[in-house]
Symmetry: C2
């Protein structure tokens, strides 16, 4: 949905061009790695594999924003677009290490692949797990480093470059901080309230998924501080809507579309908007009985889903997604936002809601 | 030993200045993180803690090289010096996640600390481990990002900046590749030969420990490609001597000095120069009986040490350290290397050997 909408916008650089630039950057990194030995080459293959098949939402948002604001730095924009995609790849790689996820986009994750290889070669469970953790951590380090490198080498000078670096800095630490808060919430003595969940979602996902692309694209197009501030707020709201939508899809989505098990959020005991909303409803006893049970069955997960639907929690969260998306759209009505940019971002706001319905 | 030698060199910027700059950078990062929530602030505290008490070898090598070559970019040099220290911090943080190390420098590692906290709060073993992995991974990401940021913002322009970024790029991927090779060697069907072990040591440690500081310092002082190539080769040799020395100290060192258990390399089944050398000696049956045994006792580790000494393996490795250090020194005799720089780096070559005796 979102892909179609963004692709239909006439002023977005072609997806083919983006894919080609991403391939070119990864190729160059991998040939440079030859002197780094088999490990370095293998890690770049892992990065390439992890980056494969993504929807490229982040780079496309960046290019759309830059173009809609009349930006003419096409070379730099393409480079930054690849950087935000690699930032996403890096976070996914490290996320899979942290969450011990074994499947992403319907394929085995890097840690799962290396661990399986080590097991097949006769390694103990602990050794195999160490190989998986090593590969996932180090591949993520390379993706993160290449993202930094691309922004650092963007063909802009002086304050403009510092602004881009400041933004990347800010986004990386909010995302990392949000991710830590998210993991620690599972073991917190008091279950976090909805406001905390929303704040974590904003930091963990909204920042690098929507704020970074939109603000980097705007900065590159020469946007002034006033416009950047408006865009930052709007992007944050849209980003929260996006993360809440992910929470919904993580439980109610079609596994063939989401590429991950609809049991996994429940099994991991994840603290999501869904669990926070469920707490004061009649669904809670059913949710609580299975939340954080690694061995939860498909049947039990189905019962939890039914309970959430019957108690109106699913509808409440759908409404919350819509409200955040609407709030983001309204912020884009600010007179500081040129009509062309509003038109370019509106499909995004619409699709964030549409994919949850 | 090394600390005293380098500190005695008259032309090295004072350690106090270096510590102050490191503190300033971490303070600034942490205040910037306030908007990133409690997680981001906690992660910066973890980075600061992990960076505490290091010997600062890497930044001091960088400053000594820059100064000895008559460099005058003192502000940039200090910034790069902090960057190489943070790169080291980042690798240590991720290394502790990968190796599941619980103690470094005699204190609990970040993963160990978070896991203990989660356990105390009632988390399951799996949840506690996930908290530890999350904190270690994310703190390392922040340290790595700050290292990139400092190099990217160094007050040098154009090709000079690109050269610095190229070097950082190269070093990060060699180190990551070397680390992966090192971990995979434990489960390799055929035990790696000494040449492979030396190659991995060169990539994993020599690059970021000696090559990066020396070459960054030289580039900043305006060194031409010829000198840079000589320094790169010499630094690589010294770096391999350093890693081989670490392997020696990991087994024969005083735990109170090394800050880590003299059993841990053995218990983890690490493939080091020591095990590669031992393979064709009478010590091998004793080594093999305990290598990779997580429950190896102090007594058993003592028997392995004795066997290695009796079979002459310890002496062989000490000689290898000396040979690599001498080779590095000889390379510094190249006429392209100014006498002042040779004089500044000689104490380093000497101390790499001296600490193993």
């Amino acid at each position: 949905m979102l892909e179609r909408d963004l692709a239909a916008a006439p002023d977005v650089a072609s997806v083919a061009e983006l894919e080609a630039e991403l391939e070119r950057r990864l190729d160059r990194a991998r040939s440079g790695a030859r002197s780094g030995g088999p490990g370095a080459e293998a890690l770049w293959d892992d990065v390439r594999d992890a980056a494969r098949g993504g929807k490229r939402l982040r780079p496309r948002l960046l290019l759309a924003t830059h173009h809609a604001l009349g930006g003419t730095q096409d070379v730099a924009a393409l480079r930054l677009a690849v950087a935000v995609e690699l930032l996403h790849t890096a976070f996914c790689l490290h996320d899979d290490v942290i969450d011990r996820d074994v499947v992403r986009h319907g394929r085995p994750t890097v840690p799962a692949r290396y661990a399986a290889g080590a097991r097949a070669a006769g390694a103990s469970a602990a050794q195999a797990s160490a190989c998986g953790v090593a590969a996932g951590t180090l591949a993520g380090d390379l993706a993160l480093s290449l993202a930094w490198r691309l922004v650092a080498s963007a063909p802009v000078e002086g304050t403009a470059r510092e602004n881009l670096l400041d933004l990347l800095d800010d986004v990386v630490q909010r995302s990392a901080g949000g991710e830590l808060d998210d993991v620690l919430a599972v073991v917190a003595p008091v279950r976090p309230a909805l406001t905390d969940v929303l704040r974590t979602a904003s930091r963990k996902t909204a920042e690098y998924t929507v704020v970074a692309p939109v603000v980097l694209g705007a900065l590159l197009a020469g946007a002034g501080p006033e416009l950047v501030e408006v865009l930052r707020s709007a992007a944050r709201s849209l980003g929260v809507a996006f993360q809440l939508g992910d929470d919904l899809l993580g439980t109610f989505g079609d596994e063939r579309v989401t590429g991950k098990s609809a049991r996994s959020d429940l099994a991991e005991g994840k603290v999501t908007a869904l669990t926070a909303l469920a707490r004061r409803t009649t669904a809670w006893p059913v949710v609580e009985a299975h939340l954080g049970d690694p061995a939860v069955t498909d049947d039990e997960a189905g019962r939890v889903r039914s309970a959430l639907e019957v108690a109106g929690v699913r509808a409440d969260l759908e409404n919350l997604v819509a409200r955040y998306a609407e709030h983001g759209s309204r912020l884009l009505d600010d007179p500081a936002v040129p009509a062309a940019l509003r038109a370019a971002l509106e499909p995004y706001a619409r699709s964030v809601v549409a994919r949850t319905r």
